[in-house]
Symmetry: D2
Subunit: 268 residues, 4 copies
Amino acid sequence: MKLNVSASLTYSFSSPTQVIAAIEAAHSPDQTILSEELWITSGPALIRDTEAASGERRFRTALEGQVGINYRAVVDNGQRPLLGPDARQHDWAELPREVLPYLLPSRFCPSDEFMRFAQREFRSVRGGGARVLAMLDWLNAHVDYVHGVSTAKTTAEHTFIDRAGVCRDFSHLGITLARAMNIPARAVSAYALALKPPDFHAVFEVYLDGRWWLLDPTRLAPIEGMVRIASGRDAADIAFLTSEYNCQCLSQVITVTQAPDEAETRAA
Amino acid sequence: MKLNVSASLTYSFSSPTQVIAAIEAAHSPDQTILSEELWITSGPALIRDTEAASGERRFRTALEGQVGINYRAVVDNGQRPLLGPDARQHDWAELPREVLPYLLPSRFCPSDEFMRFAQREFRSVRGGGARVLAMLDWLNAHVDYVHGVSTAKTTAEHTFIDRAGVCRDFSHLGITLARAMNIPARAVSAYALALKPPDFHAVFEVYLDGRWWLLDPTRLAPIEGMVRIASGRDAADIAFLTSEYNCQCLSQVITVTQAPDEAETRAA
Amino acid sequence: MKLNVSASLTYSFSSPTQVIAAIEAAHSPDQTILSEELWITSGPALIRDTEAASGERRFRTALEGQVGINYRAVVDNGQRPLLGPDARQHDWAELPREVLPYLLPSRFCPSDEFMRFAQREFRSVRGGGARVLAMLDWLNAHVDYVHGVSTAKTTAEHTFIDRAGVCRDFSHLGITLARAMNIPARAVSAYALALKPPDFHAVFEVYLDGRWWLLDPTRLAPIEGMVRIASGRDAADIAFLTSEYNCQCLSQVITVTQAPDEAETRAA
Amino acid sequence: MKLNVSASLTYSFSSPTQVIAAIEAAHSPDQTILSEELWITSGPALIRDTEAASGERRFRTALEGQVGINYRAVVDNGQRPLLGPDARQHDWAELPREVLPYLLPSRFCPSDEFMRFAQREFRSVRGGGARVLAMLDWLNAHVDYVHGVSTAKTTAEHTFIDRAGVCRDFSHLGITLARAMNIPARAVSAYALALKPPDFHAVFEVYLDGRWWLLDPTRLAPIEGMVRIASGRDAADIAFLTSEYNCQCLSQVITVTQAPDEAETRAA
């Protein structure tokens, strides 16, 4: 699918503040960036980072006063296959080395605390895709999507108890349950078509059958309309803005629309 | 039922240590102490405290070195009625003033965190006794009795996630769920007949239909064989030994046996 | 000192909600209520509770829709003595029985976690008043008064790490340090003269030398201008409004002014 | 320095259990492995992993029953320079991309919670090496080395409050303080000469002046006698054994001795 994505962020920094931003679509194997533009209204030149393996990009700079950060791209996100029940679960021995860290608990996804619960709830389901789909059903049945009950420091433990949260919280709990059953899982930030209201989306991926599968535990946006930004152990790794000191977000406008593909354009 | 109860505790205190002990059967309206004996192998005279309303007793002293604390009593614990589904739940306005604190969250029973879960799980069950019995069924179905997975600082939050614990943990989670549904609940320490291995038992009570009802969420000991010691908001209030500094428990032997009642004695 | 105090609270309840309110000045031995008035704009008759020992008062009712809760009183708060360094610390054996619970850790004041720190920091200071005054100095030197960094669920542990908070947080940490050194301490809600901006104030008391001493760890209001409302183990016990479900506070206006005493009145 | 290191671990696995072990000396640029041997008493062939950039090694296998895991190596750990006060602190813009994750909070090192404390305590000290050395002094002055007060789940928050811990806890708190002041820091597992009793050691590194500097916050072992095993965000990443299910460690014997270097050997 060809998608137009854009982010217009305005921040206020009361003193010169170092930041790392992850808002650019990843140059990952599963999507093609057809065109893009990044501009900051003020500040020094950007340091641009690209992770070789994943194609994920971040930029670093130091900002002061009121600053606009803007990004616009046209991305072909290809074919995003949907996880089916038959996707096979790997033994640890079969996993690529770089996947192993995603088996471990992390700050917001303390999967070691959930091993007994996950066993109780999901061991009767066939391993692999079927088990992950059962976890998504469980999340859907037991957690409410509610704004304002969680913060940037909310862990999967809290969400499990409180039974409510937003996309970040659903993903953290989904990752936690997967890891608790030995399934590698990681957090992913994305631009998402049809998300209402439009915003950066936090989803997650599991590694099964030799590849990562993108999942939206909130079921608020279709997988085939997602443009990948960054991935990591949990939300801390994929923040769209990491700043040295607190700063104030004055406005944030995200848009994602379907771009007419060439055939359609020609026909018109 | 007439019961012989005894506790023989041996502690080692590396320096003079102030302690408060709650090991004596309560002089509560629901039981009668037929005879009793309390002796400490060394140390100054005891300060004896009795709470007028509840008849609960504690003693204070300061101990040093190796000390034996011993208690023995014969108690008639009367008739302990079993909670039935029809016990009526009160509005706050109907509750005795002294019951109100048991509606509030406490350290090990943070019921305010569980309101959404409790509503989801138990609102479809009729209020009052039926709802509390449903909570006990839930605990029995979802939490394993396992030694060694919890400590004196384990909260109901942890037990809810970990799905395992001992009597203290079961009671904390039971209290938490009850309070989350507006049912006053409090922790109770007890001598319990038929508990294996014999130990102080941690159970809880809910206030319904004008009285407190004793419950054992572990289902390890019959309610009719319990002798009440102390009650409070959670385990911190009913510790059998509260000490100023850490001390070492060298041995602890609890026994509870049924005493022949007079009729039987006479017959023999 | 003679003080006029008033609270005008407006809440919105989306459904009929049971509440317990603690906004009335206590009928405690240390203050005299010269006149008072309590009125609620709608709702059923109030259940009025008074604790015999402390004179603390709460009322219960069930409210719906937009409701104003208003209280106005003239209180002579007598002489509030200031804690001096020589106030003597008691052995546990000397304490009145009803003071003992204030030695224990509670949810927001987990003093058992702070024993090593308190020993390190304060054992070199003489026990009793001097030690408590050293704790207040420590709080003043190490914690910033900052709005917005804490919530109703913030514990003394968080405040100790974050080094910032509001009156509730300062009091919780003060209580925690005192209990960690075996000094009974409890939370107190109050009307406070000269507090800017005017609000309910959260302070605390320690038990030394045979009596409770009122302390304001924020140093924002003078002790002699305080009117006592309620006391308890920590903030949960002294909330000015405990409600069954979440409700919305639309406005809250507190005023405390010095009332002209009779002599002055006559002179005018 | 040339060092003989060895680890003999015996575990009992009640069912077939997947494990990842990190006990081999790293093939890192700062040390040379002169000879080594790794043998497991039973189990399938090992999957061996080496991280290209760091030379860190792990092996994966699945074990059952009682199993011995043994490693023995002779390592020349070269020259380990000691951090001096003049080591320069980098702006984020100057850091190598792969160092950036070590600026972020992690589960056991939640540095975002400590920003105000770190600023209060260390902002008056010159940035860079001097500031890190001040942090080590602070740790030494304020935290006691005590066995048994912490577990594998203890965070830097707990250690900061409790003021006691073991090498893992000291390192977590050191890492946390460094990150809170914008200094990249990571956990390192090591074989350490002269550590008493001999054990795997948990130390940490900060990135200053264009390189990582190894530090032992417990001051129990000299930096120049350390052989690097693995590094990561915190202890979870450098566990010497990560296992799918709980397993029992029956024995663990670590030895580290100085090997005679060739010159000495020849001279003898």
